[in-house]
Structure formats: structure tokens, C-alpha cells
């Protein structure tokens, strides 16, 4: 064998590749010799946290991933769920946290590009996108620049590519000062019997490279994404990748056209660790070897080494295994779209991953073991300590009207219009609900009535206080948001963002959050069909709030029966469904405490999954039968904020009775599984009588102001001014 060994492998070099000494020993044992430099790079890419899920795998396996509609669960580029009539929705969420902190525009843009590619790699045309964003505290010196750059980057890529952004989240908390979170979601539509997978089949078939040329972008990027930030962050900068949505748009059209010709046997996009991960996955899944000839790889820079080509994270690239007899047809498609097309290798029967470069073999590794033998850790963990409940008399009191206005005008509860108006929310002409409602809704093209709903949720404050309840709550809130539009929740994807798993307390958060997510998904019949893990979100030893983002998809069989959150007509009865006695009670970890009083105390609210399910199904039935005139789920900010949002969205006021107990608890408690539903006054009694869960009439819509119990009435115009005011005032005239 002629594997060259330049440079010398030293312990330092091994450490620089993010490999622990015992992991390196495992490599030596596996291949029976010292790896070449290129091989070391390949191992580092395959065995880092990002690709191997080595810390989380054990726990991820416990999530429910099956259901009658699930066609493809985790393990492929995206999950696939049957929506009837021979169609399927394909979706996934993925993080681009570290790159976005380093270069917010390009980091966010390439995050969007990556997730879109995951979806169309499977043969689906993207029809909706969301973005869940978490930034540091508003007055941190970097925050504005990061918000401005990330939002511009998400828009810059998605708008040009041509997918409507229909939802997302934006939150601020000091715990993200040094590690922002950028989680991008995409969903696409495909024929259920035309899903493309990454498993290669057949020996001696051409492995074809498609799309953009390879540069030195992000060499070491996947390794970086799994490393904690230290103060040497500046040095990691040159690995930034630049996105090219124009190329991605052409790649989409070319791939779909190519798939239609029947030429594609297997396809895999080049994401993190590019050529390495994609080639190994295709071969390993199909029990085949792969031989790559790097001299055939289209490059855009001179003198690229084998190492650089194998680890490059240049964007907008794909790898395919094609039917040889269709190669000419395939090439013509790519030439039409002016994209690179090169046969760079072939499948083999020896189960080896061989890489040739300038006449030498620079890597020769056992392909299955590269993935299967990746280290898997059962990292030590300690159960999180749950804080004590807050005593009712420790809750600071405040005027209810002032509190509503204060929340509406706060960083975390104000309107996100400043953000989503920078996104194309209408393109494709199918958007039935654009951002601002409980979930984004798009019509299913080609079907007269069907629509899909999308929502992304998590409350990291709850997860910090109690990862188990917080995990449950994230799932329940997402499910609830889908229900609130009239959708039957189908399935979800998760994006688990945490700190350093090598700390037992962080690992404990992960374990408990996954347990909570799993239980909620099981109880609500809302399987997880894809997902992504982002660990090591820490700077100088301080971790982010545990943030397991849940993004869900729901099906609306007939969009005539779709609900919106704005009050629809004057004189409707307002019903509070699923609430405890006194309407609201739980103020621990509430928005009221944190955002109005600067206090983070108490327990996370408990989610009763049976009650959640019963309440949700009842609300769904009210929407389906056309009884509900408006629907809104209650989450952080409670009843007071929920009512204000309904009034602002519908431009109609309301008068609410006085609550029985403490007004602060009633209006700002964050008890779970609650919805606000309006119905025609004459329907109210019947609905209340038919409710299998608690349902109380709390007031009626009408007039130009919102009056909450004994508090002073606030005009809807003033509510709207407070709600719409915070974000533009905060951002001012920033330019990226």
C-alpha cells in the first residue's frame, strides 16, 4: 500500500481533530496501522459528535419514531409522513449555531441551504420553511448585529431559493450571549412512492458528483461545530462557508428533473464533512464499498489536497449513484442547469472506502466500521435538581393592564413582524396562514382542500427548571399550536441544543429532556421522524439554556375548516377550555416573573398528557364542525397575553369577567393544555355542555378595547402599538 504519511500524526494533531486518545487507539485497533493524514481527517469527520451522535445515540433510540403514517423515520436526510392521496410530507430541522455566531449572515444562510437540500435530496419540492432563533440579551453588545445578520441570512437564502417561510421563533436570553441558536426547518411535498434514499445498490456503478465546485470552505467545520468556544474563536474564522442560493435553486430543479428520468439509484447531499460523510453513508447503508478518484472532483481552488477535498464543506453539492445507461441523460439535465457533473468514483464489493488522489491511494478504510464503530458513549449524568415551587405570597403583584402592556412591549413577547417581513411568506401562492398565527399553514398543491400546518416550539426556561417537564411541554405546545389552526398533528422533528455533554449535569438535562419528549410524543401520537443534535453550546464553561426545539407538522383535511387566532366578529362568546379552577394558577418560571420582575423562580408547569389530548381533540372537533370562530392556544404570558393577541389580530376588543381568585394568577399563570375559543353567543351553552374537559365562558368580544376583569380597559390600538413597537425600536436602522 502506498498511503503517504504527511504530515506526521502526532498526539497534538490527533487532539486538534477533536479525537480523544482512547478514540485514536480505537482507530489504531480498527485498521491495524497508523492512519494517514487524510484518513485521520476522515475519522475525525465521521466520529465527531455532529455526525456520529456519540453522546446522544443511546438516548435518541428511546424516542417513538413509528406511527401508521410514518413512511420514513430518523436515519435518512429527512423524515417522511403519509398525508393521503399518494402524497407525503418530508421534513427535518437542523442547527447552524456555531457558524451563525461567527458569521451571522452566511451561517444562517447556509443553515437554510443545508436543510432545504436535506428535503429535496429525498425527491420532495420544498413548500415551507421555519426558523427558530435564540439570541443573547437585547443589550448585549453583539445581539443586534447577530439578529440583523441572521435574519438577513435566513431571508437572503430562502427568498432567493423560493420557499415561503411560514413560522419560527425568536427569543432573547443572556444565556445565549456567547452561543446563539439558529435552527432551520424545511418541509417538502413528494409522491409517497417516489422517495429517494441514500442507500447505494449495485456493484460497479458510477458515483456522480453534482452541483457546485469544491473549495476550501469550512474545512474543519464539522469538527468546529462540535467544539466548545474558547477565547481563540477568532482563529476559527476562515472556515466560514458562503451560500449560493442561485446554485441551490438550480440544483433543486436539476435534481427533481433527474429523478423524474429514473436515473437515480441513491442520492445524498454533501452537508457537514461533505464528500466523506456522503460517500461513506451511501456505501455503508448499501453494504458496498466506494472508491473515489479525487482528480475528477470539480474544484474551484488550486492545489487542493486530498485532505481538503475530503473535508470541504462547500455548499450546494450532491453525490448520487446512477444507472450507468442513463448517465448521458443525467448529464444533459445538469448541463441545462449549468451545474457541474462529474463521475468521481464507483461502488465496489470489497466494503472498503478507498480514496485515490494524484495516482496514490490516500485512504483505504473499512467502510462499515467508519460509521458503525464510531464511539458511542454512555456518558455519566446526574438527575437535574428541580427548584422549589414559588409560594403564592412570594409572587409580586402588579396591575393587570400594566402587566399586559409590559409583556406586549417586551423582548420576548412582542410582535416578530420586523423579522418575518424580511422573509418571503407568500411565494408559491399557497400560504393560508403566514407568520403571526399559531402555526403557518400552506395548501397542498394539486389537492382542492388539503393543507399542512407547521409550528416550532420550546420554552427553554421550563427546560432549565425541569428538563423532563420542559421536554414534555415543548412537544405539547407544538401539538397545541397545530391543533389551534384545525390541523391533526402528524409527526415532529427535534433539534436538541444543549451544552457540554461531558458534564454530568448537562448530560442529565439531555437524558431528562429526551425522556419528557418521548413520553409526550407517545401519549399524543406524535412520533419523531427526524432530528438533529447540537451539543457543546458553551462559552468559557457556561452553557446555554437547554433548548430542545420541537417542530411539528399537522394535516388540515379541508382548509375551509381552518381556525385563526384573531377575534372574528363582535358579540362572540369567549370560552376558556382546559383550564383549572381559577383559570390560571402556575406562576413558576413564568413570563410574568421573568420579563416583568426579573425573577426566575419556581417549578416548570406540569403537563398532564391525558388532559392535553382530550382538550386538543375537543378543540379540533369544534373547528372541524365549524363552531369555533377563532382559536388560540395559551402558552407563556398566559390568558392575559393570549387575549391581547387575539384582540390585536382581529382588531376587535373584548370584555372579560373578573376571575375568582388572584387576578395575576388568573391572567398570567402558565398552566398547560389551555385554549381560548370563541363561538357565536347562541352556541356557547351547547359547547360548554358538550365539553369533556373544563370549559368556561369568560367574556365576550366586541368594542374597541380589551377589559380584563377589574383592570382598566386598554384600547386595541394601544395594545397593537405596544406589541408592534418593541422590535423596530430595538433594531432601529441597523444594517448588516
Amino acid at each position: 500500500m502506498t498511503i503517504p504519511n504527511e504530515p506526521q500524526i502526532t498526539p497534538q494533531l490527533v487532539a486538534d481533530h477533536g479525537l480523544k486518545p482512547e478514540e485514536y487507539q480505537k482507530i489504531l485497533d480498527l485498521i491495524g496501522r497508523e492512519p494517514s493524514f487524510t484518513e485521520l481527517g476522515i475519522f475525525s469527520a465521521m466520529w465527531n459528535e455532529h455526525c456520529s451522535y456519540k453522546s446522544s445515540k443511546k438516548w435518541l433510540k428511546t424516542l417513538p419514531t413509528k406511527g401508521p403514517r410514518v413512511l420514513q423515520g430518523p436515519g435518512e436526510n429527512a423524515g417522511v409522513v403519509d398525508i393521503g392521496d399518494g402524497q407525503a410530507v418530508v421534513f427535518k430541522m437542523e442547527s447552524h449555531n456555531h457558524p451563525s455566531f461567527i458569521e451571522p449572515y452566511q451561517g444562517a444562510a447556509t443553515g437554510v441551504g443545508g436543510i432545504l437540500r436535506d428535503v429535496f435530496t429525498m425527491g420532495a419540492r420544498p413548500i415551507a420553511a421555519m426558523n427558530a432563533l435564540r439570541f443573547g440579551e437585547p443589550d448585549h453588545e453583539k445581539t443586534k448585529h447577530l439578529v440583523s445578520g441572521v435574519v438577513a441570512g435566513v431571508g437572503g437564502y430562502g427568498n432567493s431559493f423560493g420557499v415561503p417561510t411560514v413560522g419560527g421563533e425568536v427569543q432573547f436570553d443572556a444565556r445565549y450571549n456567547g452561543n446563539i441558536l439558529v435552527n432551520a426547518f424545511a418541509a417538502g411535498l413528494a409522491d409517497a412512492d417516489k422517495i429517494f434514499l441514500s442507500e447505494a445498490k449495485g456493484v460497479g456503478l458510477p458515483v456522480v458528483y453534482l452541483g457546485a465546485k469544491t473549495g476550501r470552505d469550512g474545512v474543519g467545520g464539522a469538527t468546529m461545530a462540535s467544539a466548545e468556544f474558547g477565547d481563540d474563536i477568532e482563529e476559527k474564522r476562515p472556515t466560514v462557508q458562503v451560500g449560493d442560493p442561485f446554485t441551490e435553486k438550480r440544483l433543486l430543479e436539476a435534481c427533481l428533473e433527474l429523478m423524474a428520468t429514473g436515473a437515480v439509484i441513491a442520492i445524498q447531499d454533501m452537508g457537514a464533512a461533505g464528500l466523506t460523510c456522503s460517500a461513506v453513508e451511501m456505501g455503508a447503508k448499501g453494504d458496498l464499498g466506494v472508491e473515489l478518484n479525487l482528480d475528477a472532483v470539480p474544484v474551484r481552488e488550486e492545489n487542493m489536497t486530498a485532505y481538503e477535498m475530503m473535508l470541504s464543506e462547500s455548499q450546494e453539492r450532491m453525490l448520487m449513484v446512477l444507472h450507468p445507461e442513463k448517465e448521458a441523460e443525467a448529464r444533459a439535465v445538469f448541463e441545462k442547469w449549468e451545474l457541474d457533473f462529474a463521475t468521481v468514483g464507483k461502488t465496489t464489493d470489497d466494503l472498503r472506502f478507498r480514496v485515490l488522489w494524484q495516482g496514490t491511494e490516500v485512504a483505504n478504510l473499512p467502510i462499515k466500521e467508519l460509521g458503525d464503530e464510531a464511539p458511542e458513549y454512555d456518558r455519566p449524568w446526574v438527575a437535574p435538581t428541580v427548584p422549589a415551587p414559588i409560594a403564592p405570597d412570594a409572587v409580586p403583584q402588579m396591575d393587570v393592564a400594566d402587566a399586559v402592556l409590559g409583556l406586549l412591549n417586551s423582548a420576548n413577547h412582542s410582535s416578530r413582524r420586523w423579522v418575518y417581513e424580511q422573509y418571503d411568506t407568500l411565494i408559491q401562492g399557497n400560504s393560508l396562514q403566514t407568520p403571526g398565527g399559531d402555526a403557518g399553514v400552506v395548501r397542498v398543491e394539486g389537492h382542492p382542500q388539503k393543507a399542512l400546518a407547521f409550528s416550532s416550539d420550546v420554552n427553554p426556561r421550563y427546560c432549565e427548571a425541569d428538563p423532563y417537564e420542559g421536554g414534555k411541554q415543548a412537544v405539547a405546545e407544538c401539538w397545541r399550536n397545530l391543533i389551534a389552526t384545525g390541523a391533526e398533528p402528524l409527526a415532529a422533528t427535534d433539534n436538541l441544543n444543549f451544552g457540554n455533554p461531558e458534564r454530568p449535569e448537562i448530560m442529565g438535562q439531555i437524558v431528562h429532556a429526551i425522556k419528557g419528549i418521548g413520553e409526550a410524543c407517545t401519549a399524543l401520537e406524535f412520533p419523531i421522524v427526524s432530528g438533529n443534535v447540537s451539543l457543546y453550546n458553551e462559552t468559557n464553561g457556561r452553557g446555554i439554556l437547554p433548548t430542545p426545539t420541537i417542530a411539528g407538522v399537522g394535516l388540515i383535511p379541508d382548509h375551509k375548516h381552518m381556525a385563526r387566532k384573531g377575534f372574528a366578529t363582535e358579540g362572540d362568546a369567549i370560552l376558556l377550555i382546559g383550564a383549572p379552577e381559577g383559570w390560571g394558577t402556575h406562576l413558576g418560571q413564568s413570563a410574568y416573573l421573568r420579563d416583568l420582575h426579573g425573577r426566575r423562580e419556581g417549578t416548570a408547569p406540569h403537563v398532564d398528557l391525558d388532559a392535553e389530548k382530550a382538550t386538543g381533540h375537543f378543540v379540533l372537533s369544534l373547528i372541524r364542525e365549524g363552531t369555533a370562530t377563532a382559536v388560540h392556544d395559551l402558552s407563556d404570558g398566559g390568558l392575559g397575553l393570549g387575549l391581547a393577541e387575539m384582540a390585536i389580530a382581529g382588531k376587535i376588543g373584548a370584555t372579560i369577567d373578573a376571575a375568582d381568585g388572584n387576578p395575576v394568577a388568573a391572567f398570567f399563570g402558565e398552566d398547560q393544555n389551555r385554549y381560548l375559543v370563541t363561538v357565536r353567543a347562541e352556541d356557547a351553552e351547547k359547547v360548554i355542555a358538550s365539553a369533556p374537559v373544563s370549559a368556561v365562558r369568560i367574556g365576550k368580544t366586541g368594542g374597541e378595547s380589551l377589559k380584563l376583569g377589574a383592570a382598566r380597559a386598554i384600547s386595541v390600538a394601544d395594545l397593537a402599538a405596544a406589541y408592534e413597537g418593541w422590535f423596530p425600536a430595538f433594531m432601529g436602522a441597523t444594517i448588516n
Binding site: N159, F246, Q422, Y423, I427, L432
Partner: protein
């Protein structure tokens, strides 16, 4: 009436436009790839929105220099109707079929929302379904919609009635001079507009205000689907 939608790489509202033309006109338009040898004989040529060639260099600049645009220019000279929406408008100005330029929005941000348009000239084939002065709703989605022309050009297009649509009721979203949202050429058979009437043509879109533009050109056939 026969129509064609011309597609350059990077355009992305071509499918929206095809749907609108089909729903309103009753028959689907011919979709023409910019490199196709021939542009069929049609009465209306539409260049839809998007980011042709990524909008790199200047919005619409690269597509404007393609051979297809020479063909479209010849057809326009013969009196064929040409409609450019959003990127289509930018391409038409870059190609010199319409006066002025579309610069970066004054906010420097991409903006997608609904605005109000008023009809400044109802005597064009594109606006004849509306009344002069009528105000209607229309969505926008663009990064470079800030219309600019030098004083002389501006005076001449204003005097000639070439300004067809203006942003109304303080909804100018991009800093366009004189609130200009859509203009025609001197002859009146080429219209460019930044807003997207094709995204407001049916109840599911929340309104049908945009139909008039297509109905005027295609004849009002009502087919919802």
C-alpha cells in the same frame, strides 16, 4: 388570448404566474425556457419574479443581456404585450425596454407584506379593469424595488401617463420616487411592476384584488381551483 411565461434560471415565481394565468385565462400559458430556440407566437409575454442569476451584479442585469431578451424586444416593438413582475420589471429596465432603474430598497432590507396601490392610469391594457384612482391591495416581496429615474425621464413618464400604479396610503415600502410601483413604456404595451398581483387572485389568498391585471389582458374567465 395566448400567453407565454419566460423562465430564466433563478426565477422562482414562475409557477405562481403560470397558475394565475391559467386560473384567470382558462388555458395554461406556454412556458418558455430562456434558451429555447423559439418563442411561440403569443399575444402576451410574461417575465415573472424571482432572482434571475441570483440577482448577482444588479437585479435582473444578467438575464437582461440574454438573447431571449432580444427576441422579446423585437416582439414588443411589434406591439405584443409584455408584462414584467418584480424581477421581470427589473429585467425589463435593465434591458432598456422600460426607463429608469430599480435600486436597493431604502431600508436595505427585503420586504414582504401587503401594500395599497392606486391606479394612476386606467387607460392601459394592464389596468383597464380598474377605475382611475381606485385603490387596491397587493402583496410585495422584493429587495430591490426602489424605482429611480433622473428628473427628465421622470417628467416624461409622468407627462405621458406611463406611471400606471403608485403605492397609496403611505404604504411606499421601498423609497420609490413619486411612489411609483408600475410603469409602461412610451407605447403602452410593456408594463413593469414590483408588486405581485399573481399572489392575490383567489379567496384562499385572502382576496382577489390582483385579478384585474390578468383579467384585463386575458379576458375575464372565472375559474377557481
Amino acid at each position: 388570448m395566448k400567453s407565454a411565461v419566460v423562465v430564466f434560471p433563478g426565477l422562482n415565481r414562475d409557477r405562481d404566474m403560470v397558475t394565475a394565468l391559467e386560473k384567470i385565462g382558462g388555458t395554461p400559458p406556454v412556458v418558455v425556457w430562456h434558451k429555447d430556440a423559439e418563442l411561440p407566437d403569443v399575444d402576451l409575454i410574461v417575465i415573472p419574479g424571482g432572482f434571475s442569476y441570483g440577482d448577482y451584479l444588479r437585479a435582473g442585469a444578467i438575464a437582461a443581456r440574454s438573447p431571449m431578451m432580444d427576441t422579446i424586444r423585437e416582439r414588443a416593438e411589434k406591439g405584443v404585450h409584455v408584462l414584467g413582475v418584480c424581477n421581470g420589471f427589473q429585467i425589463l429596465t435593465e434591458a432598456g425596454l422600460l426607463p429608469g432603474v430599480l435600486m436597493r430598497n431604502a431600508s436595505l432590507k427585503f420586504v414582504c407584506k401587503e401594500v395599497k396601490l392606486s391606479v394612476a392610469n386606467a387607460n392601459t391594457p394592464f389596468s383597464k379593469e380598474y377605475a382611475s384612482g381606485q385603490v387596491f391591495r397587493c402583496p410585495i416581496a422584493h429587495h430591490d424595488g426602489n424605482y429611480f429615474a433622473d428628473a427628465e425621464t421622470l417628467k416624461s413618464i409622468e407627462d405621458n401617463g406611463q406611471v400606471v400604479f403608485r403605492y397609496a396610503e403611505d404604504t411606499n415600502p421601498n423609497g420609490s420616487i413619486n411612489d411609483i410601483a408600475g410603469i409602461t413604456n412610451a407605447k403602452g404595451n410593456v408594463l413593469g411592476m414590483m408588486p405581485h398581483p399573481e399572489n392575490l387572485i383567489e379567496p384562499a389568498h385572502g382576496g382577489e384584488d390582483g385579478r384585474g391585471i390578468f383579467a384585463g389582458l386575458l379576458g375575464p374567465v372565472n375559474t377557481y381551483g
